[in-house]
Amino acid sequence: MKLLCLSWSHKTSAAAAREALACVQIERVLTVLRKHGCGEAVAVSTCNRFEFYAAGRPHVVRPANWHLDLLSELAGAEVSAEAEVFEDLGAVRHLFCVASGLYSLVVGESEILGQLKNAYETAKSMGMTDKRLNVLFQRALYVGKKVRSETAVAAGSSSVPSVAVQLAESIFGRLKGKTALILGAGAMAELAAKHLVARGVGKLVVANRTWQRACALAARFQGEALQWADFPAQLAEADVVIASTGAPEAVVTRTMAETAVRKRAGRSIFFIDISMPRDIEEAVHQLDGAFLYRLEDFESIVAKNMADRAESVAAARAIVEDKAEEFDRWARSLSTGKELSLHHSQRVVFDRPRAF
């Protein structure tokens, strides 16, 4: 079996070539190829990469240059020079690495798995996949999941909001039914509100010095607006407090937090301070049951997570290499008439332990 892979990615090719290719509908690529008599092809198009895979018997698959010319024609720009070309084992290895997120901008991100799956399903629904590419892509999805569950390439959150939500979930379990208090109504406050609502927070309360802006932000997220002077009294009702006011001195003092914590009788309260200068006094963190995180705390967690991910790339590559060679043996066995068997060993599950 012959396998050909052409790849344009954020690491290897200039933005111009990728932009030209991004405008090409993958359905169109496949339709044109079918017209030229190509039987098996899959095209993958994401914001950071364009990939093209073709497979078939060795004398049936046309050479890379022919495909490059065709794609340049479709893109309306000369993209051949920017492409990486892989064949056979190299192509399998490349696809498995892509599926594992090893070539993604954020290492280990799992969106790529869904994108590969969609691209494969599009090609499949157009009748452009046969045994070889079916097995190859199903294998790639399997390897992608396996790598993520058995190594730490996908461990830990990769962005500040997701780390914040993860920590909130480590305190409260699910955010459903929890109350969030947002101090300030600027862009950062809005971003925070968006994330909280997306995670199903039960009640959103916005307090701002300018009453109208509090109302406006609250209305956008079906929350409640609160008069600025009233927020200290309402502090005890909030499970998560996000502060981003831009005030010159702290708006939540230790005394305020102490009263709130006492009223809450030991139930935790999660303070998030994303403003500079600080909105929440550092001493709040010393209170029992109060957890204060500042922007740089989240950032250093993200940095550590990304460093951990980078460290496990070698382990991930070992799995990819192993599986790519296994696939290659299978592919070569097709022509000998004694087809080897290829099993997805165990089912891979993503799970976070949870009490109920």
């Binding site: 830990g156 480590s170 030991g266 963190h285 049951g289 957890f291 599950v349 332990p353 949870r354």
Partner: protein, 285 residues
């Protein structure tokens, strides 16, 4: 029969220890497989242990006067039974709540109790003393041991809660933080286990008192074990009052539950050491 029993027991101990180790491995790495391995090992261990217990009952019943009483009146029997109850309650609670992560905190007690039974207590069995030959012998200790096993599970949950609290407080949470259940979940699980085990404890104590009345004519003998177990009950009552009556959560209640468990241990082991021949061999019970 004794040989079979001993082999099964050692097999169970080995499996419990292995399950404990894989639970520890799960806690330290993110390998989901070790959690499954732990459950499997624990399951087989439970099976062997139950086999050993059955064999022990068979030997025990070879004394005609022991017929139909459970062999829990010796230190060996009690420890082994305690370990069985611990492993079984953990198996059930973990199975329901997917809390394999707590295995590293709870299973050592099961393995430890069985190891203590095998290493330090004589497995020999003798005919029961006439005054122990009561149907209460099958009920009273069993109820109390179930309560103790549940308290041990609550202890594991409480320790996990303190670890989780520290993790979040540190601002540099490790992987462990994301793998442990949330503070709220641990807190409510701790409360639920204790509020479920406390009535068992009370029932067990009242049963003991009734048995004592019918055997010795007194409800209360002021033995070390009785005093300690009443203290345990009082501490857990205080916990429940704080948790549900006064609505307190978090560290304070957790400390009370830890104190409660230390008294459980003291009641179970300490009383034995303090008063030598007390409890299981006769005395007040």
């Amino acid at each position: 029969m004794m040989l079979i029993q001993s082999m099964l027991n050692w097999g169970a101990l080995f499996l419990y220890a292995a399950a404990t180790i894989s639970a520890g491995h799960y806690l330290l790495t993110k390998d989901l497989r070790s959690s499954r391995i732990m459950l499997t090992l624990l399951g087989i261990g439970l099976f062997l242990h139950f086999g050993a217990f059955t064999a022990r009952v068979a030997v025990f019943w070879s004394f005609p006067e022991n017929r139909f009483f459970l062999p829990v009146s010796s230190f060996h029997g009690a420890l082994s039974c305690m370990s069985l109850a611990l492993a079984a309650t953990f198996f059930v609670i973990e199975g329901q709540n997917r809390l394999g992560i707590l295995g590293a905190l709870i299973l050592p007690w099961a393995a430890g109790a069985l190891a203590a039974a095998l290493l330090f207590a004589s497995p020999d069995m003798t005919p029961l003393e006439p005054r122990l030959r009561s149907y209460w012998l099958n009920i009273h200790p069993m109820v109390l041991m179930s309560a103790y096993a549940a308290f041990a599970n609550a202890f594991g949950v409480a320790v996990a809660l303190l670890i989780q609290e520290r993790q979040i407080k540190s601002r540099k949470p490790s992987e462990l933080c994301y793998r442990l259940p949330s503070l709220d979940e641990l807190d409510s699980l701790n409360g639920r286990i204790i509020s479920w085990a406390f009535p068992l404890l009370l029932t067990g104590l009242v049963m003991g008192s009734i048995w004592s009345r019918s055997a010795l004519g007194r409800f209360w003998n002021a033995g070390a074990k009785e005093c300690l177990s009443m203290t345990t009950a009082a501490i857990y009552a205080a916990f429940l009052w704080l948790r549900y009556g006064a609505g307190r959560r978090g560290r304070t209640t957790v400390y009370v539950s830890l104190l409660g468990f230390s008294f459980v241990l003291f009641t179970f082991f300490g009383a034995e050491l303090l008063s030598g021949r007390h409890s299981y061999m006769g005395g007040g019970k």
